[in-house]
Symmetry: C2
Subunit: 334 residues, 2 copies
Amino acid sequence: MPELRRDPITGRWVIISVERARRPSDFVRVPVAGATNRFCPFCEGNESKTPPEIMAFRPDGGEPNGPNWTLRVVPNKFPALRVEGNLDRIGDGIYDRMNGVGAHEVIIETPNHELFLSDCSEKTVENLFWAFRERIRDLKRDTRMRYIVCFKNHGDLAGATLEHTHSQIIGLPIVPKRVQEELDGSRRYFDFRERCIWCDMVRQEVEDGSRLILETDQFVAFSPYAPRFPFETWVLPRHHSSHFEDSSPQLIHNLAWVMRTLLRRIDKVLERPSFNFVIHTAPAHDGPLDHFHWHIEIIPRLTKIAGFEWCTGFYINPTPPEEAAKFLRDAGLV
Amino acid sequence: MPELRRDPITGRWVIISVERARRPSDFVRVPVAGATNRFCPFCEGNESKTPPEIMAFRPDGGEPNGPNWTLRVVPNKFPALRVEGNLDRIGDGIYDRMNGVGAHEVIIETPNHELFLSDCSEKTVENLFWAFRERIRDLKRDTRMRYIVCFKNHGDLAGATLEHTHSQIIGLPIVPKRVQEELDGSRRYFDFRERCIWCDMVRQEVEDGSRLILETDQFVAFSPYAPRFPFETWVLPRHHSSHFEDSSPQLIHNLAWVMRTLLRRIDKVLERPSFNFVIHTAPAHDGPLDHFHWHIEIIPRLTKIAGFEWCTGFYINPTPPEEAAKFLRDAGLV
């Protein structure tokens, strides 16, 4: 019998096909292609082909917008939003709009065109999360930015348009709908129980163990109880914190190990698939929140989303999270 | 300057890239492939290869599960949900689940393997919507079915797994999240204004005209103000009605003309793309609702959904609805 499971935060129900569970080998696997020889604006030596850099790491010294970097942050050349201007909220009959004011930045994670993020050193992954932290802290100083999304699209199926490994940051003048739903849902739980729902989730997942993928002193990674997608994976700090950007250097260091390990296991189990990950942090100008707990969602892109899912918000997932977790747990340290 | 626009029903904001608007020819177009010669369980003569039919149209007579039909409804051979059994809602620590009880049916729209729905006669399209209506009315008699979703996935990119043109019906023991959001959002508007938001939308779109695609005595089709996807198209009955399945034969007849015309225009403008459409009707056991207005959403699959969209519920749409509507309006009667 298939199962209907409810995400306790957003209230979303998903169908889990328990009977004809799809194992990793059942998916049509489309490994992300390796590097081609085309000209790449993200490669070392081509710094002039991106807009001037916002920030970069050059541990051995060097000039801005020159070579010798290990990570660069640059404005997106084709930004979805513009930094200049006022929001100018206006009505339009029954509708509302405002100017597309915001920030859109790209993090070039390594000068090496050949590597996937999962192939990079732990230090490279740590640099990426450190850059996310620094950029959020900087962007928050602009009061127009109400929410800052940090995410990575890897591979064609995940929406990446350039193959050189990179991540993105978008500063928004609104709180995105799904984050708002998480804020509302976790607030309702807190009002009822005076506990953070994610803290309760960490406790239950560690105790139960069936969906646990890995844990460290600082982090827990598991397959969520009601995942929308096969092999969807969540990473939560073990100790309560609402804002990712408040993370200590030690926490970022540990997070890099956790994320690198997970991405390498996903590469091994699912044959280097396309994937997305997104950091869910609290809104920029909120103080520390008791009910919200920052986390990262990783989604390998294995299935097509059909009309049913899109138009109803109701997902059919052919892989029970207990199965997915077992594969990712057993993949070992790679 | 890009624009941020808000969907007045769900409160979802989307980014509309006004400056570098993508016209139909700017998308990488992947026309749905024509028919192949593989064995097809949906073709006439292969009736025994599907589960026994639930309903069929045989205007010239003939036995059930034999040939001579113009439309067949059969249970899905690999159903996402099962009709037998009780829901048995149970808690699981902080989580909730229930048995996957529901219905999953397939409508084979024509015996002809070679045709897309848009190639079929108006009568064939009318049969499809009539079958949706009949199946909803029948499934509603089962009190476990709280919501019935009628939809079509056309083409590989839209999640169709069989090429013979068909639609699907899923009866659910819950109201899907996005439908619930529409119910909640339109209720809030009604509480405030004592008017249906979709009725107001029809009025404004007809008056404004810039997003209008076509109108008849009975229906209005337009590009919504804050579309998630390029060329997203909504079809609304002009007169208020919450339940699609209450439609009169005359309304279904007119709807068939509207839907066929829209699909043919989409085929012409976007080169026979993959698409989804979904009927949004009110929950099965609600009486007529003043605040909810049934409608159909059509979504051509032109762009990949990246991590950002998935994980935030915040969409970037490269085609302003005013541009999309103009192309679909100017495509004429095809």
